[in-house]
């Protein structure tokens, strides 16, 4: 049983359609840790010791958030700045996170065509996630392919949201039960709901 902690990072919870449902589904799963980072630290006064302990207590760290200005929400950056101290997460003697997995579950307003060299965002979505990927690398963590929902604002209308949420649940349960194929997931750029059956062992 892998120990999974899911950080839900959303500054506009009340506007959310996709993330809110995803997080509600995650909360219903036994045996994983979930927390709402903006509810935990509404005034950005992050408790470094508590957060580091949380990291030590888990094997897989998953951040769920909506992309906004090509980045995660600002509180996640604050969390990184404070919690991933040198000597703890990186640098001399910073080996506490060695071998753990970092994973992202994110939503984007643009559709999959937009996130391409010839799309209007000009780059694939992984390019925008490079800072987090390198953060994982510097902390000696394995960066597994992010679970992505494109066109998130339209997803409730065209029925994609429900399948995405179901896939999310399967993904989280599989990680919990050591049935998730991290080796394959690490090789991929992104994971979408259609890929879940190939990555989850039954």
């Amino acid at each position: 049983m892998a120990k999974l902690v899911l950080y839900y990072v959303h500054p506009g919870n009340k506007y959310s359609h996709a993330n809110k449902l995803m997080f509600a589904a995650a909360r219903g799963i036994d045996g994983i840790t979930t927390l709402d980072l903006y509810a935990e630290y509404p005034r950005f006064d992050i408790d470094i010791d508590r957060e580091q302990q949380r990291l030590l207590d888990h094997d897989v760290v998953l951040f769920q958030f909506p992309m906004f200005w090509y980045s995660p929400p600002s509180l996640l950056k604050e969390w990184q700045d404070l919690v991933l101290e040198h000597g703890f997460a990186y640098g001399a003697g910073g080996t506490e996170l060695d071998g753990k997995h970092m994973m992202l579950a994110l939503t984007a307003a643009g559709n999959d065509e937009a996130y391409a060299v010839d799309g209007y965002q000009h780059y694939p979505i992984r390019t925008f996630l490079t800072p987090l990927e390198r953060t994982a690398g510097l902390c000696h963590m394995q960066f597994a392919a992010p679970y992505v929902l494109y066109g998130a604002l339209r997803a409730p209308d065209d029925g994609r949201l429900n399948t995405h949420v179901t896939g999310y649940r399967q993904l989280l349960e599989a990680i919990r039960d050591d049935r998730y194929d991290f080796a394959t997931a690490i090789e991929r750029d992104i994971v979408e709901v259609a890929d879940i059956p190939t990555l989850v062992r039954t």
Binding site: P11, G12, S16, D36, Y38, F68, Y120, G151, R154
Partner: protein, 645 residues
Amino acid sequence: MGEIFLLAFLFLAAGVIAVPIATRFGLGSVLGYLLAGIALSPLLRELNVDVVSIQHFAEFGVVLMLFLVGLELEPRLLWTMRAKLLGLGGLQVAVTAALVAGVALVLGQSFTVALAVGMVLALSSTAIVLQTLNEKGLMKSEGGQSSFSVLLFQDIAVIPMLALLPFLALPELVDGLAAAEVTAESHGAGLNVVEHLPGWQRGLVTIGAIGFVIIGGSLLTRPIFRFISVARLRELFTAVALMIVVGIALLMTLVGLSPALGTFLAGVVLANSEYRHELESDIDPFRGLLLGLFFITVGAAINFSLLFENLAAIIALTIGLIAIKTAVLLALAQIFKITGSDRWLFALGLAQAGEFGFVLLAFTVASGVIPAALAEQLLLVVALSMLLTPVLFIVYDRLIAPRYAAAQSGEADDIDDDAPIIIAGVGRFGGVVNQILRAAGFNTVVLDYHSEHLERLRVFGFKVFFGDASRPDLLHAARIDEARMLIIAIDNREQATEMVRHVRANHPHVYIVARAVDRHHVYELWAAGCRDVIRDHFDSAVRAGRSALEALGVHAFDAELLTRGFVANDRWRLRELANLYDPDVPVHENEAYVARAKELMSGIEAAMRGSGDAFGVRSDRGWVPPSKDDVDAVVAENEARTSVT
């Protein structure tokens, strides 16, 4: 009775007229009093007034001054100054006394008289020099600091001198005095209860009395002040302060010790207590008046016929004295590496003889150390050298300082990191402020009226002072002149407003943070000139509102954004109204204020600002994702661009 009124009026009037004139001409207050005394002397002679007995009474001013000197002398401060104090001060007194005594010997005085004269003339005038340095803003300069060290040492040295001088007494003079019973009368020896005891018992009583002053000073003051603070009467504090000083002086007289020594010790004992500033501001007016009276009597006692008979000799002696003192000070400045204009400030500033010289001369005559005729001539020398001090300062200002000014102008000013932050009122509000500032390493001076607050803080090792912070004199004693900030956290709203007004008017460099008890008090403080007003219960009420929102199921971050919006909006409204508030017009008669308040309350403004609930719009703007339309717009825009290219 009428005579007392007449005398009191004469002395007061002379001081009131002469001191401002002297100050205007840059002569300082001490010289003003001396001149007033000189002007009064014919009149006093006409009225057959016993100037000498008044002078003995006025000497109590010196006792008060030593008490205040003691109060200023925190043991810690004394320790950091020890090198300068002992080295510079000790050498100045010792070398000057030795040289002056040598000259006296050469001029044919006996050894004991020469030694006594050396001691008397080695001292400089604390009153004139400190006053002048403060007026010229030179206290913080190296020359000023060195001068202060020397003066402090001299003030302390007076005490052992007072103890030692009687041993130099000339038998023939003492015999003469005993017959006249002058000692008994003038120095209260008549009250001496230990006179007839054997030596060892006398020693025990003396040690006991000093021990009582030290232990009593540290143990009894607090209960006494706590006892009277119940009555909340300002004059009681003054009465207690005077009672303490008079009581100690009495005790010292009873055991045959110098009252100045006793009160000085008591001052040092109390220097670290929370009552220091209160005692200082209570005693200071009495010290000022009595010292003024003392200087007037000195002026009145100047024997002009003697001066004119020996004019050449006395002028020569005075100039000789100034030359010797200046030479010694210049040599010391060289040894202690005081350079540039500071060296000359130090040497010329301290070149006169001082007011303690008068005291010591009176004392030496009374104890039969120096013959009265010689003392009268020395008195003239002392007075003349003091009269010349302003001239020496003018020499420094005009001739010496400009020569060094060019060389020094490139250097940055010393920033006084020690500038205190005064916190007035240290209950639940001021206490938190104090803890935060101290935790950040800032130097705070805490004033409070409530013994219980101070008691609590003292237990935790904070440095706190007892006193009514709304009194300008107490603020002065807490060094508001040098303070960089004042935090007003007292309960009384009128006093808080008055403090803002006073400090804004008299110490505009001080940044003020003031606590307001309610909305109208905010306006009053704003109108008085404070631009950093913190409402008493506002922050806690906002937090309570936020807690309530969270408990009602509002997301914690949304609750945070909502309350932030509320605070911003409320502050904006408050400022709008504060600008219309007029402290001289009752709110309900202030038409502009009422009209604006109505507008703000009607919500029109809120609607104009984009939201029905006025602050909702601000929190909404905290984080709003794009809508579907926004996404379509971006896509369309992009397609249009690609089709063009």
